[in-house]
């Protein structure tokens, strides 16, 4: 499954004889980035050759689609290219994953949309479904990235389209980012598992969260991480019915925020769990100390702590 790069030849290839690689996972070329590269090529030429393989008297791109597009735009007749031998379909795809994911940051959706094809080819190659580690080894993608991709793959098409639209914008102008959808999906998956009756229609819940995010009712992505905490109310012995009610209200069109839902349902329980956890940790540490180990400042602080503990114990 390897390509012998040492046998590649560096040639000046006619730009008109080159075709884009249909397996290039990259679907989005931001205009501003293309313009920048175009200007560089106009002024300094193509400094790094593209990679192609020959097929039926023409050339198919392996690497360098943006450089090639810019050359076409600039009416350049030739482009320096490393002409390699034709790879197998799996090698072709994996080559591009490796070339791009190691060298430049692709949009996650770009990777996500091609991942099923990689899995299909790998399944054929291995005779079984590849596991996450194998996919990671072949593609050069971290396992966390593969998991994030899977969340995007499972989105209904309409949401994938809206991410695609968003990705055409400069990063600074993107609102409904891939990260937003990933955080939202994680939250909804947890809610669906813990309290399925709260999300009878996942798309409706998505639409509400999207609207709330767009209108700043949800102020930032981190707030979405509080939703699974509400759904796991039972794990902190909070009232499940109250948590359900808060989530139901959250998934309706209103100005009810995640922070309010959290406050109304599980805030105290998590706070209590936090105190218990810290108290355990503190008790363990104090048990390891002898009276000679502590100075006046610590003695004074421990005195204040004893007073608070007594106050609460006597209540």
């Amino acid at each position: 499954m390897s390509v012998n790069a040492t046998e590649a030849k560096l040639l000046q290839v006619d730009t008109e004889l080159i075709d884009r690689n249909p397996d290039n996972p990259r679907i989005n070329f931001r205009q501003a980035e293309l313009d920048e590269l175009q200007e560089s090529i106009r002024l300094y030429g193509v400094q790094v050759p593209i990679s192609v393989y020959k097929q039926d008297g023409r050339y198919v791109l392996i690497d360098g689609e943006r450089r090639w597009r810019c050359c076409l735009k600039l009416n350049k007749k030739k482009i320096p290219a490393l002409v390699q031998e034709k790879p197998t379909p799996l090698t072709n795809l994996i080559l591009m994953f490796n070339i791009h994911s190691l060298r430049e940051q692709w949009d996650l959706l770009t990777i996500a949309l091609k991942l099923p094809k990689v899995i299909k080819f790998l399944t054929e190659d291995l005779g079984r479904t590849p596991n996450e580690r194998e996919i990671s080894e072949k593609t050069g993608l971290a396992r966390g990235v593969i998991r994030r991709c899977k969340l995007l793959i499972d989105l209904p098409d309409e949401y994938k389209e809206s991410i695609k639209d968003e990705l055409t914008k400069p990063r600074s102008q993107q609102i409904l980012t891939e990260d937003f959808f990933i955080e939202m999906e994680r939250a909804l998956t947890t809610v669906s598992r813990a309290m399925p009756e709260v999300v009878p229609d996942r798309n409706a819940a998505r639409d509400v969260l999207i609207k709330k995010y767009k209108t700043n009712v949800i102020g930032n992505l981190v707030q979405l991480r509080q939703i699974p905490k509400i759904a796991r109310a039972e794990s902190v012995e909070a009232n499940k019915a109250v948590a359900k009610s808060a989530l139901k209200k959250l998934f309706q069109e209103n100005h009810y925020t995640i922070e309010q839902a959290y406050e109304d349902s599980v805030s105290e329980a998590y706070s209590e769990r936090d105190i218990v956890s810290r108290a355990h940790s503190l008790t363990e540490r104090l048990a390891r100390l002898s009276p000679g180990d502590i100075d006046d400042e610590l003695r004074e602080t421990l005195g204040e702590l004893r007073e608070q503990i007594q106050r609460l114990s006597e209540a």
Binding site: I27, N28, L34, D35, R69, K73, N75, D165, T168
Partner: protein
């Protein structure tokens, strides 16, 4: 249409642009990403040729101007190519920032048109495109002329960009009017060596000028800058008065005609300025 270099999210804008220009100007037969000439470093998104042999280049982009366009504009001007370059940007409905306004100004200064188009093919023209073969013409400096001529000059200049022959004609009219007045005044002042009986407002202009070259100026003239050579130059202008209406039959003829008209326009401006200055002592 198949686009190779245009970013995919702009394909619909390109299609909508073709619809807009067909409806607005009747331009059809657009081809995608073709070269203008072998040497110009730009393949515009869309390109077509009008019945008047003018090349229309539509560049679809999110930005109204870029360095790549600069080079293409200069090349078209230098080669006197009859090209109109229009940048089409997608209509976003979002107010444009200061940078956008700066780029818009740059496009205007370079005679590049800017049109905003939505996906239904509805467009708003933000800036009109001028033929690049003509836009390289030297700009008229109004301060070199007395106020009474400035409006006519501005009209001639703006007409020149849309219809160069007519622009020249407007300028020739001004030269003719002033030279007729100069002829009448100098004749009345007995500065010609012979007595002429012309109707200076109506008789053949070329005939009057020929006669004036032959019999004027005399050493008594209060306008010494008004020389026979200058009047002969004005006489030369009259030779082009009847050529301006002919339509070029091919692109090559259009290139040739535009080159000639550009030169004539610039030289007529110089002649007019010299005539105005030379005739000042006559107070016509």
């Amino acid at each position: 249409m198949e686009f190779k270099s245009l970013a995919p999210h702009l394909h619909s804008t390109a299609e909508a642009a073709a619809t807009f220009f067909k409806q607005k100007y009747g331009w059809t037969g657009f081809k995608a990403e073709q070269e203008i000439t072998e040497d110009i470093q730009l393949r515009p998104t869309l390109q077509t040729t009008t019945r008047d042999h003018e090349t229309i280049c539509i560049e679809v982009s999110e930005s109204p101007y870029s360095g790549t366009l600069d080079e293409a504009v200069i090349a078209c001007k230098n080669e006197s190519l009859p090209v109109k370059l229009i940048v089409v940007i997608p209509k976003t409905g979002v107010p444009q920032t200061g940078d956008f306004q700066k780029l818009l100004g740059r496009a205007k200064r370079n005679s590049v048109g800017i049109v905003e188009v939505d996906n239904s093919g509805n467009g708003t023209i933000l800036s009109e495109a001028l033929s690049l073969s003509l836009s390289g013409v030297r700009k008229v400096n109004p301060k070199e002329f007395p106020p009474k001529y400035r409006q006519a000059l501005a009209e001639a200049e703006s007409t020149f960009h849309s219809n160069p022959a007519k622009g020249c004609a407007v300028l020739y009219d001004e030269i003719e009017n002033l030279s007729r007045k100069v002829a009448a005044k100098t004749q009345a002042m007995n500065l010609w060596s012979t007595k002429a009986t012309y109707n200076f407002e109506k008789d053949n202009w070329a005939v009057i000028m020929k006669d004036m070259v032959r019999t004027f100026p005399t050493s008594k003239s209060p306008a010494p800058a008004l020389t026979a050579v200058m009047i002969a130059g004005i006489l030369a202008v009259s030779a082009h008065r009847n050529e301006v209406g002919h339509k070029p039959k091919s692109r090559a003829q259009l290139v040739k005609r535009n080159r000639e008209l550009r030169t004539r326009f610039e030289s007529a401006i110089d002649q007019f300025r010299d005539l105005v200055n030379a005739a000042k002592p006559l107070k016509v």
